[in-house]
Assembly symmetry: C2
Homo-oligomer: 396 residues x 2
């Protein structure tokens, strides 16, 4: 017996998942990254071109779950000790990768004639790296064990906290009420949450998981426990002020040394289903009204170029002692801004300090930095991959 | 960087998935079916008790995907030849399992004093079996290879088409416009779709899948192809007038003889994540306003008892030559009405022939028949299971 709901859901699933996979295959054959094909599929299916798929709450939820599971899966491949060992370097990568884009964003927007508060929001939107795209590229190519990959992941976690702080300060200025005690509390909470699970998560899971496995009676205990832990840390992260995906990554990392191989496979199935919704979702959100306003388009191009260069130079400089190649890899890996920049601009819109054309500029920048990263990463890591992706991924 | 959306989604995931798994574990320890625990978790979290989880579009989508993947997974374990071999028997199980509940439903509602059209909608809502619950119980216990299980699955497919036909006829009467040619077309389309994929799906996939695997370059080709085929048949089913889950089942069955073991594992991961949303979702939709109206509650109890008995007797009679035990198993396996009955009642409400209190009666009946099935199935199949569930499931 059919109902409209069934039909629409299955049709959306078919269009987005099937479209993403077909476009990925076409891009692969044209020697371009499949991941970009999946984003382009979203642009084509979405309001920008065909208008067959709209950005609704279900697609949003599937996209959110997609990037959450992606970071969880990446976390499962990374030992916390490996991340801690590159912590000092990653801290500098994150800091320079925040300072330069902020300065560039503020400078350009102010020079363009935007108001001070508007310019600070443009600057804040240029700060935070969206690590999902880079993580997907590195995971698919089996490169998560490289030093550059570890620095990128660690720096992305620090970057998320710095982004939180920048947004909090900028929002305070916009409200005209800077609460220093509040900012300190927010920062301490976010830093404390992250450090706690980075340093003690693995040991805690090594103690807890065997006991849970031994005492529960229902099927697939380890998988179910892992998912509950993932959701707990995603919720906890949100309360602590960091991104849900950072919580998902920390959950994966904490479990990486105690979970069995079967859980990897089961999580991989979920990720394979959901990640195309995250990727195509970026394309569906593409707002092409910017192309009708040549002035805004000019600004968008300038901001996008600055966003790419400032991140590459800032992060690359901090990683320069690792050699030119690794510095390039780290710099490029931190380029994508993705949905994080859009969230900052949305908050600015809600506060009335980001006008619609500037929101369009930020969305354009977020998409360009996201789409440009995979081909640049492919060049930067050329020669470091080998064998089919999914097999290597399983070896992790 | 956090946003409200992230936080709410992760929190809903945690509450529903975590709550379902904890309740399942508690029920398992109390020697009750874990599946009932997951439904009860939804009742407790939903508006009926705590009100922490609301039935929104995201939860609806996850629940729909859950039952879709559940039937897909079940299809992967069933060869179409096995289903065809029990086809004749299953046809009679489905027919008697439709006639008796319809007669019982109409008789009781009319005797209670409801209008003729209202009574026919109550009757129609009592017809269609929701095979998801039974499929989950049989899959988890590794019983899909039994003759009873095959008859249940085949009968559920036929039952879905009969349910479609009954609803179409009843709706035509309600509109006062019986279009015989339209009804015949609808029936032929539904029957044709189902027969086509049952008889030729497997052979087609055995030809197509190796070619697709050999020619595509992106990772996890078989899994991605299987998902696209699943969504194609779910959409196709909806257009042909049968349920999306019947399409999902047919897709799984068509692939069952050509897909590799890795695809089973990946699909299993998706199913493990999503099925709790289907189960808990049934509980979340529980409407307790019925308990404030003692007259409606009385009718609900009578209707529910009639729904259980009429399906058991009707289906059991048709399967009686298989022996008393198998007849009982088949009869009980067809009892759950789940969401299908609710959809019929909703259509009746939209047409203005099903008043709110009768809708409450149907929802009550749908939930009671769903909750009562797992414990009855456990008794009926006692002694036929062995070894831990997920291992046996993998052997399929």
């Amino acid at each position: 017996m059919s109902s409209g709901e069934h039909e629409n859901l299955a049709l959306s699933m078919l269009l987005v998942f099937g479209g993403a996979k077909i476009a990925g295959e076409i891009f692969e054959r044209l020697r371009m990254p499949a991941i970009v094909g999946e984003i382009v599929a979203g642009m084509i299916l979405g309001p920008a071109v065909l208008g067959w798929v709209q950005w609704n709450s279900t697609l949003h939820a599937l996209a959110e779950l997609g990037v959450m599971f992606l970071l969880f899966r990446v976390g499962l491949e990374v030992k916390s000790s490996e991340l801690i060992s590159v912590g000092g370097r990653a801290l500098w990568v994150a800091i320079l990768g925040v300072v330069l884009p902020f300065a560039a964003g503020y400078g350009i927007a102010a020079w363009w004639g935007e108001a001070t508060l508007t310019s600070t929001f443009v600057a804040a939107a240029m700060v935070a790296t969206s690590v999902g795209i880079t993580a997907q590229v590195l995971a698919a190519k089996g490169l998560l064990q490289t030093t550059s990959a570890r620095i990128i992941l660690a720096a992305a976690v620090v970057d998320d906290i710095l982004g939180l702080l920048v947004l909090a300060v900028v929002s305070s200025f916009a409200k005209g009420d800077v609460n220093v005690a509040g900012l300190v509390t927010t920062t301490l909470l976010a830093v404390g949450f992250t450090l706690f699970f980075t340093f003690w998560g693995t040991a805690a899971m090594q103690r807890i998981l065997p006991k849970v496995s031994a005492s529960l009676r229902t099927g697939e205990v380890q998988f179910n426990f892992a998912l509950v832990f993932l959701f707990v840390l995603a919720v906890g992260a949100a309360y602590a002020g960091v991104a849900a995906i950072v919580g998902a990554f920390l959950a994966g990392m904490a479990l990486s040394e105690s979970i069995n191989h079967r859980v990897h496979d089961l999580v991989h199935g979920v990720t394979e289903l959901l990640v195309p919704f995250f990727l195509a979702g970026i394309g569906v959100q593409m707002d092409i009204s910017i192309f009708r306003d040549s002035s805004a388009l000019t600004l968008a191009i300038i901001i996008s170029v600055a966003a790419v260069l400032s991140k590459m130079v800032g992060c690359g400089l901090a990683a320069r002692t690792l050699g030119k190649r690794a510095a390039m890899q780290v710099g490029i890996g931190m380029v994508p801004r993705g949905e994080v920049g859009m969230v900052v601009a949305q908050i600015g819109m809600t506060m009335g300090v980001v006008p619609a054309h500037i929101y369009g500029v930020v969305v354009f920048m977020a998409i360009i930095t996201t789409v440009i990263a995979p081909p640049l990463l492919a060049i930067a890591f050329k020669g470091e991959a080998g064998g089919p992706a999914e097999e290597r991924f399983q070896l992790g």
